[in-house]
């Protein structure tokens, strides 16, 4: 929200004012967030308790982190359907390395982060140098990652982790849950990368006009490689939190999370065609989704009906947003 924020639809310099905020691409996601929060608050007494707010944020953290990598990829005009499966694979392997292979947990986690990044880079290489459409590449790697996770674990969840690992999932620093802190740190780093580094400019440029970016000397293929690498890395971070939350490696975890992550990105105001969007919007989008899930649960709505309501609210939010932007 600083005035130099690059939205891909920049405004003029100037201090922070309400008017400026209303014209920023964050306006709509924010309004959506406020409206939905107020509605939920009215419908359920517990909604606005500090406890519940932290609870929502903790629940949001996994999809929120996946959505960071997704934002990078979508900003370049790509898409990554493999995030949920990669998270499951990395989580399973971390647990397996610790439990079955007796590797010290910190080392295993490091290996997991490296693995996630490598898979992401592989996606990126296939998209960049293989010149294949991202949607197909990541669709295929999604199936492969899931299959590998099941093969590695034999289909069984891997449990028996040292208990301190649950710190990543349920621990707190002060009142704030650890996963929330990890998520916020990742968002902060992503913000700096996108807004304050040449690489960030190149990400926007690639999504804005790939040919022009290439002609200007942007190493477009390397940018593609890196954004998918980042997406793999954030999937691996999500896997660490997931492992902490589930205290086990779950080869079946994260089915459909890619769709939640995409929804968070788009609800946050990022153009699905790339080139425009803010990482802060994604955070708001992820929280909005989390609030919807939490609020509908708190209101005790029939689980089947929840899907219908969620779909309708997403449509409504995007519909209004489309006019605004």
């Amino acid at each position: 929200m600083s005035h130099e924020e690059n939205t891909g639809a920049a405004g003029k310099s100037g201090g922070f004012t309400l008017g400026r905020l209303l014209h920023s691409p964050l306006a709509l996601p924010l309004i959506g967030l406020i409206v939905v929060s107020v509605l939920m608050g009215l419908a359920s007494d517990n909604f606005f308790s500090l406890n519940n707010i932290l609870n929502v944020l903790r629940q949001v953290s996994i999809v929120g982190i996946l959505a960071v990598g997704m934002t990078f990829v979508i900003l370049t005009g790509g898409i990554d359907l493999s995030v949920g499966a990669v998270m499951a694979l990395v989580g399973t392997i971390i647990a397996g390395l610790i439990v079955n292979s007796g590797i010290p947990a910190p080392l295993a986690m490091l290996a997991g982060l490296v693995l996630g990044t490598v898979i992401g880079l592989a996606n990126g290489a296939l998209v960049a140098w293989g010149r294949m459409p991202a949607i197909i590449v990541t669709l295929a790697t999604m199936g492969m990652a899931r299959g590998l996770a099941l093969i590695y674990s034999g289909g069984y969840p891997i449990s028996g982790l040292p208990s301190w690992i649950s710190w990543f999932g349920v621990g707190r620093i002060g009142v704030v849950p650890v996963p929330v802190i990890i998520m916020l740190v990742i968002y902060a780093i992503a913000w700096v990368l996108l807004q304050r580094t040449p690489f960030g400019r190149h990400v926007y440029a690639l999504g804005g006009n790939e040919t022009a970016a290439k002609l200007s000397g942007v190493k477009t293929q390397r940018v593609k490689l890196v954004v998918f690498g980042i997406s793999g890395l954030t999937s691996a971070f999500a896997a660490v939190i997931l492992t902490g939350r589930l205290m086990s490696g779950q080869p079946n975890a994260g089915v459909g999370f890619e769709l939640d992550a995409i929804a968070a990105v788009v609800l946050g105001g990022t153009a699905i065609a790339g080139g425009r969007g803010l990482i802060l919007g994604t955070l708001i989008g992820a929280v909005l989704l989390g609030i919807l899930n939490n609020g509908l649960n708190l209101m005790g709505i029939n689980p089947y009906l929840q899907d219908v309501i969620k779909g309708a609210i997403i449509l409504l939010a995007i519909y209004i947003g489309r006019e605004w932007r």
């Binding site: 517990n46 289909g155 969840p157 449990s159 205290m247 079946n252 089947y304």
Partner: protein
Amino acid sequence: QDKLKIGMTFQELNNPYFVSMQEALNEAAADLGADVVVTDAGHDVAKQISDVEDMLQQGIDILLLNPTDSAGIEAAVHAAKAQDVIVVAVDANANGPVDTFVGSKNRDAGYMSCKYLAEALGGEGEVAILDGIPVVPILQRVEGCKAALEEFEGISLVTTQNGRQDRSVALGVVENMIQSHPNLAGIFSVNDGGAMGALAAIQGSGRDIKLTSVDGAPEAVKAIADGTPFIETTAQFPRDQVRVGLAMALAQKWGARVVPGEVPIDVMVVDSENAADFSW
């Protein structure tokens, strides 16, 4: 805070087995005048933990937990116990300080079904297992089944394929099984959902293949009564599991100190002889 509030989280709610549990819960709660909150994890442990957290925000007194995964759900059990909520695992057990586990004897169920199948085949022939989602109850059924099959020398297990307990997936998988094993004589499906798909495949092929399964779902029972290749299902008692589980929780709530840690519920063979009279 006078009214009793019961929360139940299901691993899935698009399976008649769990839907009938939910119905039994609603009936029992209506009798008690208690509030009920129900959530559907859709086979996603992470979502199930979130669901439990949300229920705890609503101040439930009793948590009936039907875990998607025993190990993965542990954090939710701890969270619930931290708020002094009584936790009863239903159908599948959960790690952590669960007060009571009420569940079927899944190993027995697999054993009984496959023994019935092998006997119906006269103790010889090729059989196949239609596997499902790898969670503990399913794994135990497969284990029980294999143990039963090993008791028959003439029986050979030729293939195990995964039908994901989904009728349409199972249908395709079994069609392929039948193609690749011309001498296949029997199939054991880990649940009735997959079995209904397998039944369609068998009927479509026109071959004489016998089918057994676990659950006792209304459709399966009807198919057995109708004299199809579906000859047996080892019935569980989902409604009774909930009733017993709730009773255990209430007993503890009322101050009972010696609540059983585990209440195994028997399973029962349903075949053409008793199918007409059976229902959940």
